[in-house]
């Protein structure tokens, strides 16, 4: 921008100069040409003067001739001679002057050739007349009369008019030249003026801009200086040899100096020498040339006004654009208060850590924030090993103790504190401690967890306080403790609660293991027990086909083998179903009993083939139950009703709702079948309990056991009413769930 402007300025000045030079050249040429024209005019003037003189002489000559002729007076003759002499004298001058004009030269030639002859003739006549002095001679001369000079006179007039013409021409030319010169000069002046004005304008603009930039720079500098001055931290700029280049107001206030006193002085000498520290000075020297910097260099100083201070120094290298010197900016920060707080913090931390109790401070994410020395000693840990880590990472359960639940209980308690915001006292916990060698040591603890709130009323920390009650528990276990005080009795109760909870835990674990074993057992039974049965049945059948000579008895044996195997297979299947019913998870859904019963009736259709069965299905509600299990209940009960009415010519089966207690639904299934003796009613729903022989009615004795299991798992009851050969009514109830 500025560069192109400068270029424009140079260009316009150059153009103005060129215009001036052109004007000067033009003027010179014009003046020269004017000079030539003027000379020519002068020359012509000179020619004309000579011509006029020649005419004058000629006139004298003619007057002499005329007078002589009229009077014959000798005086006139002298005049003629004088005129002729003058004329002859002027002619060479004229020739010389008109040497460049051939026309005038020609005329002069004729004059020079004619005039002497005429004069000679006149002189001859004159001499003749002098001798004779007659009138006749005079007449003769008169006859010659004007003749000798007429031609001369005419020639001179012609020459004069020629020169007049030339003069007029040359004057005009000279005037034209003068006008042209004036025009060229005016034009050159105007052009030069324009270019100069343009240059001046550009220079003015350039200067204005320069002024503006300088103004902005001044403002920026003033702004920067005011910022530096208003910064509360002392700032000082150092030259590479660690002399003060400048310092801000804060610096001067702190060290009670003025710019005049310190500018240019060594940093080590300033303010009573707080900076005369060799390490600092070396570091600062290094911070200059190499690109490093100083951070957090702490110095203790005694300031004149504010006394003892701890200062933190930070230095940065400053590279100024357009300036090769590298300055160092040294910022000084007062960290006296900060240092004091740190000290207090450390003191309180030390106090907390040396408190005799066992304390652990946890953050809400259950990482360890702090621990008391006593706690570390009791848990055989080191502070640096546990602070910052998760509590359960540091204190895991003893893996060798299957009943260990200390970690789970502690986690639950801590969660309670986090949720309720109130302290939680835990029962005595067995929470073994891991020794540094990795082995666990048996320990019993009485923990209390309490929240610590921050200023925002959110839980900031959890304090986990424990008492090591291992010895007490061991004595208790030996029966040696003799509780007298209430505290002791409370501890005893806690101990009992702890033991009970341990027993419950153990029982639960056993149950879980038993369940898992049962699962594995069922699986094994279903696969491994069925395979040989299948083989017995299969090969018996193949034998039957293979043996062509087998008699009836042999065939019956084979059939018995097959049937026995099949029966055992059914028993196994039923047993597996029974065990599965106890284990599967209930999936509750809305079940429409009427629809379900219709479906089951359809499924049992093959059992009713060739029989007359009258169905009476009453109003049935929808219930909430596991649809698959409920279907199994109905398959069993309706299946039994069909099976035990087989000997009736017309079977009657009724299904409906019976009166019930509020909050439950009771369903009954009544048939007119074989019934049973009510004294065996309590055996009815047991596994493998049968009230009829297999020959009379087939079955495995698992169906009703399954019914009871399913109903009980739904929270209901089963029962039955019957008489021998009087039919039976089976009931089951289901609680009405929302």
């Amino acid at each position: 921008m500025a560069k192109s402007r400068t270029r424009y300025i140079i260009l316009s000045v150059a153009l103005a100069t060129v215009s001036f030079l052109a004007m000067v050249l033009l003027s010179y040429l014009s003046i020269r040409s004017l000079d030539v024209a003027t000379q020519r005019v002068q020359h012509t003037d000179l020619v004309r003067d000579n011509l006029e003189e020649a005419q004058l002489q000629l006139k004298d000559l003619q007057t002499g001739i005329r007078g002589f002729i009229l009077t014959g007076d000798a005086r006139f003759y002298l005049r003629i001679e004088r005129g002729a002499k003058g004329l002859v004298a002027v002619l060479p001058r004229l020739r010389e002057l008109t040497v460049d004009n051939p026309l005038q030269q020609g005329r002069l030639d004729s004059l020079e050739s004619d005039l002497p002859a005429r004069l000679a003739e006149f002189r001859r006549l004159h001499e003749l007349s002098a001798a004779h002095a007659t009138a006749a001679t005079g007449a003769a001369i008169a006859a010659l009369g004007p003749h000798p000079t007429d031609l001369t006179s005419r020639t001179l007039v012609a020459m004069k008019s020629e020169e007049d013409q030339l003069l007029a021409q040359r004057l005009a030319a000279a005037r034209t030249d003068a006008r042209r010169t004036a025009t060229a000069l005016a034009l050159g002046l105007v052009l030069a003026g324009i270019f100069l004005a343009l240059g001046a304008l550009l220079v003015r603009r350039y200067l204005a801009e320069h002024e503006r930039t300088a103004e902005v720079n001044r403002a920026a500098r003033a702004y920067a200086e005011s910022i530096v001055d208003t910064v509360r931290e002392p700032l000082v700029i150092l030259t590479p040899d660690l002399r003060i280049n400048s310092a801000n107001r804060a610096f001067h206030q702190w060290f009670e100096t003025t710019p005049a006193e310190i500018d240019g002085h060594r940093l080590s000498e300033v303010g009573g020498g707080p900076f005369a520290i060799p390490e600092l000075l070396h570091a600062l020297e290094d911070a200059g040339p190499s690109h490093s910097q100083i951070e957090h260099f702490e110095v203790s100083v005694n300031l004149p006004r504010s006394g003892s201070k701890v200062l933190r120094l930070n230095a940065r290298k400053l590279h100024r654009p357009g300036n090769d010197t590298i300055m160092t900016l040294l910022a000084i920060e007062d960290i006296t208060v900060q240092k004091r707080i740190e000290q207090i913090h450390l003191q309180f931390r030390g106090l907390f850590e040396s408190v005799p109790g066992h304390f652990l401070v946890l953050r809400p994410d259950l990482t360890i924030a702090a621990a008391s020395d006593a706690y570390l000693a009791a848990t055989m840990t080191k502070r640096e090993e546990i602070v910052g880590k998760g509590i359960f990472e540091v204190f895991p359960d003893n893996p060798a103790d299957p009943a260990a639940n200390g970690a789970a209980n502690l986690r639950a308690s801590l969660q309670r504190v986090l949720q309720s915001g109130t302290a939680d006292t835990m029962a005595i916990q067995k929470y073994d401690v891991r020794r540094p060698d990795g082995a666990f040591e048996e320990r019993y603890w009485s923990p209390v967890n309490s929240p610590v709130f921050g200023s925002d009323l959110q839980i900031e920390y959890l304090i986990h306080r424990v008492e090591d009650v291992t010895d007490f528990i061991r004595q208790k276990q030996k029966g040696a403790a003799e509780p007298t005080a209430i505290q002791a009795r409370l501890e005893a109760v806690e101990s009992i609660i702890y033991q009970r909870s341990q027993e419950t835990q153990a029982a639960l674990n056993q149950l879980r293991m038993a369940n898992e074993e049962l699962e594995a057992f069922s699986y094994s039974v279903s696969h491994d027990l069925r395979a040989p049965l299948r083989h017995i049945a299969g090969f018996a059948d193949m034998l039957g086909k293979h043996a062509t000579t087998l008699d009836d008895k042999g065939k019956r044996y084979l059939k018995t083998i097959s049937e026995a195997a099949q029966r055992m297979g059914h028993l196994i299947d039923d047993l597996l179903t029974f065990s599965r019913i106890g284990r599967v998870e209930l999936r509750h859904a809305q079940v429409d009993l009427a629809t379900l019963i219709e479906e089951v009736k359809q499924a049992l259709q093959p059992e009713m083939a060739g029989r007359i069965v009258h169905w009476e299905v009453g109003e049935l509600p929808a219930v909430r139950a596991d649809p698959n299990l409920l279907r199994q209940v109905l398959v069993n009960l309706l299946g039994n009703a069909i099976k035990y009415t087989r000997k009736r010519a017309e079977a009657r089966i009724a299904v409906g709702c019976a009166p019930s207690e509020p909050g439950e639904t009771v369903v009954f299934i009544r048939d007119n079948g074989a019934g049973f003796d009510m004294k065996y009613a309590d055996k009815l729903f047991g596994v493998f309990q049968r009230l009829h022989s297999a020959a009379e009615f087939d079955g495995t004795g698992v169906g009703l056991a399954n019914v009871r299991r399913i109903v009980v798992r739904h929270g209901g009851r089963t029962w039955a009413e019957a008489g021998v050969e009087e039919g039976a009514t089976f009931y089951f109830s289901l609680p009405i769930l929302a």
């Binding site: 395979a531 299948r534 090969f539 299947d573």
Partner: protein
């Protein structure tokens, strides 16, 4: 050699093998039945390895796969077959003596084409095997690329 494809039958119980072969024979199935007694054998057959390194090229018409087998069990074999794009189109019928729901769910999840609980009652077992044989060997249209090339 006919161009009727083989049936691959994996079963570790010799009794079950004999019964199943008897059932298949009774139905006069033309297919040759290749019997292996563990999951490893199935994989060797399918990948032309070990004792099957030199067998003629071609996938079986279908595979009867027992669930419980030594070394590599049926579920694992099923998983490997269904994961391999070259084998996944072979129909696989899981044979098992169990009705355990876990096995059933797992088999179908892994892509079994059918699941048959071996019945104890032999005639119905024969029936099941017969139906399987008919269904997969005769009625089921094999994927075009599984047709064995004539040598």
């Amino acid at each position: 050699m006919s161009d009727i494809k083989n049936i691959l039958f994996a079963e570790d119980s010799p009794q079950d093998v004999e019964m199943t072969l008897a059932a298949l024979a009774e139905h006069n199935l033309a297919n040759e039945v290749v019997v292996v007694d563990d999951g490893e054998g199935v994989l060797e057959y399918l990948y032309y390895q070990g004792r099957f390194a030199a067998r003629p090229v071609g996938n079986p018409a279908f595979i009867l796969l027992d669930l419980k087998m030594p070394k590599v069990d049926g579920l694992e074999v099923l998983r490997r077959i269904k994961k391999d794009p070259k084998l996944s189109s072979i129909p696989v019928v899981m044979l098992t003596s169990s009705r355990e729901e876990m096995d059933l769910a797992k088999s179908y999840e892994l892509g079994a084409n059918a699941y048959v609980v071996k019945p104890i009652d032999f005639p119905s077992f024969i029936d099941a095997v017969k139906q399987l044989g008919i269904f997969w060997a005769i009625h089921n249209q094999p994927p075009p690329d599984s047709v064995r090339k004539r040598s």
